[in-house]
Structure formats: C-alpha cells, structure tokens
Amino acid sequence: MLEDFGAALAASRWPYYLIAYVFVGAIMVRANSVGSWIMGVIGWPIELAQKLAGHGPLPYLFLLPNLLVFGLFTFAPFFINIGFSATEGQSILFEDRAWAGTDNFARLLSDVQPDTGAQNREDDKFTRSVIDTAVFVVFQVPIMVLFALITALVLNRDIVGRGFWRSIFFYPVMLSPVVVGFLWTLVLKRQGVLSLTLMQWGWIDEPIQWLVDPRWTMFWSVFVFTWAHLGFYMLILLAGLQAIPRDLYEAAEMDGTSNWRALTHITIPLLMPTLLVVFVLSLIKAFQAFEELFAMQVSWISVVAYIFETSGLRGTPTTHGLGIAATAALLIAVFLALLSLLQIARSGRGAR
C-alpha cells in the first residue's frame, strides 16, 4: 500500500496539493472538538472567504453549482429554441441558418404558405394538435384530480393494509413511461387481452383496436395517463390531508356533524391550497403528455408529438421543419409559463 502511495506521488502532483491543502487547514483551524476540527481542516477556504467578505455573498456560492446545471440544461436550450424560431434552414448550426424574422410564425400559423404562396397545411396540423391536446387536458385533469382526491381520502382512513394499498397506487409512478406504454399496448392492441376477453364473454363480435379506433383512442389515452400519474398527486394530497389538525374533526364530532359536512366544510376548504398545486401541476403535465402516448402509438397527435415530428431531429428533416417546431414550442412554453404564474399568484394569495 505504501508502495502504491509512493507510486501515486511519483506519478502526479495532486497528492502534494492535497497534503498542502490539509496542512494549511490544520494550521488555521481553531476548534474545541474532534468533529469541528475535521470540518475546519476540510472547509478552511469557505471560512477564509467568510472572514474576508462577510456572510453576504455566501449563499450565491452554494447556488452556483445548481445554477450552472440549470443554466446548461434549461436556459441554454430555451435560448437556442428562441434562436431556431427566428432563423430558417435545415442545419442545427446557427452560422448556417439565415435570419427569418417572423417567417416561421407565418409558416406555422398563417393560412397562406409564405414560401409557395399556396394554401398552408401546417396551421391546420398545429391547430388540430392543439385542439386534440385541449380535449385531452379537459377530460384528463379533472378526472385525475377527482380520483386522486378520492384515493387519498380513502387511504387516509384507518383501513386494513393501508401501507400496502398506498404502495399499490403509487407503483405506476415508478415505472418508466415507455414501460407503461408497452404494458397497456399488450392489453389494448387488436389481439390484446381486453378485446379477446370481451369476445370470449360475447360482448363484442370483432376485436376492437382500442388505441387506433378514433372513438376509443382518446378515452384510453386519458385512462392510461391517469393510471400512470395518479399516485404522484395522491401522495401530495395525502400529505395535505395529514396536515389538517385532528382537533378540528374532534370538535366537529362533538357537535354531531355528519361525515359529509365534515368533508365539505373542513377537509376540502383546508385542502384547497394543496388541491390548487395538484391541479396546476397536472394541467402542465397533461399539456406535455407525450411518452406514454408515443409508446402506445395512439392515433391522435399531441402538441409535443407535433413538435417532435416536425422538428425533423428524428426521421425526416424538412427545409423549415426545425424553425417551425421551435416556434410551436415557444408558443406552448409561453402558455405554460402563464399557467405557472397563475399558480404562483393564486397560492401566494392563499398563503398571505
């Protein structure tokens, strides 16, 4: 082992730096216990910085790593996206992309295609994906919030095997969206479990393409998406329920209040801030619905699927596809940002 250490010393310089670092720390530190002595030896640069600059800038130092990661993976793509929406061409390099101004907005939204002067098809596709997504959201969000609430209320009671039931309902959240998609494809495809079972019972004569049939595809999209995400919102609501003081219920019970009245006059009002968070979070999540639906190959196109396909980053790149997709993404981002602001404003008012 000593030989290894010697070899490491000979091979590079960092062991010397490490020794010097610890040495400086050992000289500088004043401590009255072993634990704080060790921390002092390790953390002397921070203490030194505090002595020199005071406590003011310190929080920013701790924010820095997160800010770097956040900047790299959230802000940078956001600005790149804005860049793509204002330029045109097939390349992903800005030096090869010509300035387009608002052309991509026209390509996405106007009735007349600016390049060909003929009728535009892109606006129809985009509008349709927005409408389909809106239908999905309008059904999916209330249904999920309602069922998450019911589940949370039931699992908040003192029932047998409560922990088991909670984990059962939370389980789908831990599955990868792609796994969820494939799992339900096995049930819902033409030769899937559902069609075969219903046929065996004599309820239907021919197998139904649950995911492809236009009458069923939206229903099953809502169903599977709710199934996959219910547990997460149930957990938030459960936490909200447990934060309601017990003595309120005890006082109500003494006054002979019925259970229904306790629910509508105590539980729901006190749960409102949590419900609002759940509502807005699930709204944003529903607008972004993609992975499960893509894996199930449903026969409608969500806005995210539209952006994904149009961008040409997968499959066929088209001359203006990347710019059009970036423009669509920008519009959706602005809309979702408004939703988030609404939530912040509402919950802020509640807190005051």
Binding site: D115, Q209, V212, W300, E309, T316, T318
Partner: protein
C-alpha cells in the same frame, strides 16, 4: 483477369501506402450481416494497403437521425453506410481525383447519379451502392393453396392480384388480405403502375396527376373493402413509418408489399408456411417498383481523403462486389455483375429464387416506369415518403375527402421542399 487486376490494384495501393497508413472510421448499420461482411473485407484491404478501417455498427435509426447533425457539427466519421443518398450530397467527399472514373462509370452508371446534386451538372463519384434494393410483394403461398386460389402469373395487374387476394381472404376468413409498409416508398411502385408520373417534364416533383389520383382512389377502396388491414396504414399517425412485416409473419395477411431487403429476414424467420416473392404487378402505367439501396460514402470532413477513397474503390471492385453480394444474399449494383449473375452459393433455393424475382422487378421497372429511378435519385424524396401516408391515411379514415387529401399532399410537399 481478376487476379491480374487485383494484383495491379494491390501494387498501386501498396505504393500509395508507403507514404502513410491511416486509420479511417466507418459508421455502419445492417439489415442482416452487411457490416460483418464489410469488416471481414476490410481486413483484406488492410493487408493490401496498410490502412486500417475501424467499423462501428449501429442501428439504422442512429444513421438516419444523428449522422446529419454530426456532419453539420464536424464530428462525423470518415465514411458511413447511408440510405438518404441524394439528401446528404453536400457533405460527400468526391472520389474523382483518386479513382478510375471511367471504370466506375462503366460499372455503376445507373446508381452514381443517385448520390449527385440535382440538376445534372454534378459528375462526382461519391460512393459505392452496396446493394440494389427493389420493392415488391411477398405472398403466403400456403394460404393460396389452402384457399384453392391460383397465384396470378407474370404480367398480372394489381386488380388481378387483389381479386385473387379477396378470394383467399374470403375462403380462409382472414381479417385482411394485403399489407403495405406505411411509407410512400412502397406506395410509389403501384402508383407508377396506375400511371402516376411524380415529376413534370422539367424534373420537378408534381405528385398529383390522373394516375396518382386513380391509385389513391383504388388504395382507399382497398381499405374500405377490407382487403387492407386497419392496423396497417390507418393505425399510423402523421408521417410515421410502420413496418407491416409482423402482419405477414403472424399470418394475418396473404401478401406483404415490401422489398428485397426482407428476403433474409423472411428466410430465417418464416418456418410455418411457404412464402415467395412474386413479380411486381402491373397496370396501365407499366410495372412499377421502387429501386433503392444503401451506399458507402465518404465525407468531405475526413482527414484521410486518400484512404477513404482507396477503401471505397476497393469495395467497388468487381470481385469484391461479387463477394459482398454472395455473402449477404443481395442484388449487386455493379452492372457487369447484374448481367453476369452472382453465384449465391450459400443461399437457400427460396432466397436465390426471391433474389431473381426482385432483380427482374428492377429490370421491369427500369424499362416500363423510368420515373421510379428519377424519384429514387431525387434529393428530397424522403420528405415525400412521409407526407403521402399522412394525408392518404386521413382519406382512408374519413377525416378528409380524397380530393382534399390530394390537394393537401401537393401543398404540403411544395412547402416542405421550398428553399
């Protein structure tokens, strides 16, 4: 004569390498064993020239989705096996200064233009088409026998075939009779047969004409009549590609409109019924099939232009092309070999029979529907492959009238290829 040429090549190559021995990076994808065969041939190349080839085998999606971005950002390999032949033209490394262009023109004149820039000015030599693929139908022979229906013979039209398939469907109680991969690449052949031209006299894409319309009507009708399955084209959304092979493998349909690249897959995966490739059905416009293929091309960004050229030239030599065709059971793009025929020593009778049928399909298509070769050589054909299924599907499901769908195809293609 082969040995003579080979020896001369080796000497030349050895002379060239005394200067330097480079390592070149080759990005490859395979439907069967193509990359393995090339990697084995690369060993001979190294022995002859000293240059080494580092082959990386990836899925087709990696080449399709990532290669162009790599090329744009300057992080691409030295050479790759690609299918978007015309679309990547701007990145190609021109081999003209390094190879015997007259010999290349002599052997590959039919396929070299596919890799060139549009307009006919470009005379560059950019790559070697590893094999020629051709679209065409496979049939489940067992089903035809069980139903007591005879296979339509040579020169039969699509109408004859669909009538026969309808009988098979009725006799065996199938859900559908014929499946087609969801892309206009498979759709184009039959459309040519119905008289679709796809291009105007100036060589610009003009998709919707009488022939195109006539086939679109027929095609929608095939879905209405239940001859084509609901889990084929109608099950896809947007420009999405769907492979119909599972329907054929699963015995749900009696015909799969696919192409010669499926031969080896079917030969190794079908054991419970007899299958065969059949001559491409005809129509008033001829007997249309789409030719195509994957090519090994070098990129301009390479730091070893000479080694890249030497490797591609090595593979394109007649004896190497013959070896590749024989070991991968594929149709060679080398015109001399096409005329002479390849000895498929390792192939089963079913495979070599199918290869013969597809080679004949290519010939039929070349003589009766030359627009197939124009379409294959068109740099933006990939855009059209996706747009056509997008709207035809909406006509099938009734979301749009057929006339609207056809108008939409014209408008959308024009917008997507506009510069």
């Amino acid at each position: 004569m082969f040995n003579h040429k080979m020896a001369a090549f080796a000497v030349l190559a050895t002379l060239a390498t005394t200067a330097s021995a480079d390592e070149i990076e080759f990005l490859c994808y395979q439907d069967g064993n193509e990359c393995d065969v090339i990697a084995a041939m690369a060993a001979d190349f190294t022995a002859a020239t000293g240059h080494t080839v580092k082959t990386t085998t990836v899925g087709y999606e990696v080449v399709r989705d990532q290669l162009e971005n790599q090329l744009q950002t300057g992080s691409a390999p030295d050479l790759a096996r690609v299918t978007n032949l015309g679309g990547l033209n701007q990145y190609y490394h021109d081999l003209t200064p390094y190879v015997d262009t007259a010999a290349w023109e002599g052997s590959y004149s039919a396929t070299l233009p596919w890799m060139r820039a549009p307009g006919g000015e470009d005379k560059g030599v950019y790559g070697w088409l590893t094999s020629l693929t051709v679209t065409g139908p496979y049939v489940n022979v067992t089903m035809f026998e069980d139903a007591g229906v005879d296979l339509p013979g040579d020169g039969a039209t699509w109408d004859d075939w669909m009538a026969a398939l309808g009988e098979v469907k009725g006799a065996l109680g199938l859900d559908a009779a014929m499946a087609m991969d969801r892309t206009a690449h498979r759709w184009a052949g039959p459309a040519f047969s119905y008289g679709a031209k796809f291009f105007n006299d100036a060589g610009e894409p003009l998709l919707v004409d009488d022939g195109f319309k006539s086939f679109a009507e027929t095609f929608v009708g095939w879905h209405k009549d239940g001859l084509m399955p609901a889990d084929g084209w109608p099950a896809g959304s947007g420009t999405q590609y769907r492979n119909a092979a599972p329907l054929f493998l699963g015995g749900q349909v009696a015909m799969h409109m696919s192409g010669s690249w499926m031969i080896n897959n079917y030969a190794s995966n079908i054991s419970d019924f007899a299958w065969s490739a059949v001559p491409i059905p005809c129509g008033p416009g001829g007997c249309g099939a789409m030719p195509g293929g994957a090519a090994i091309v070098g990129f301009e960004s390479t730091e070893h232009p000479e080694a890249v050229a030497a490797f591609i030239d090595f593979l394109a030599q007649e004896e190497n092309a013959a070896k590749f065709a024989s070991e991968t059971s594929s149709i060679p793009s080398h015109q001399g070999l096409q005329a002479k025929g390849v000895d498929y020593a390792n192939a089963s009778p079913a495979v070599s029979e199918a290869l013969k049928v597809f080679a004949a399909n290519a010939g039929q298509s070349a003589s009766t529907t030359p627009q197939a070769f124009t379409f294959q050589g068109y740099a933006k054909n990939f855009v059209i492959y996706g747009v056509v299924p997008d709207y035809i599907t909406q006509a099938i499901t009734g979301e749009m009238s057929l006339d609207d769908a056809l108008a939409a195809i014209d408008a959308d293609v024009a917008a997507k290829i506009a510069e």
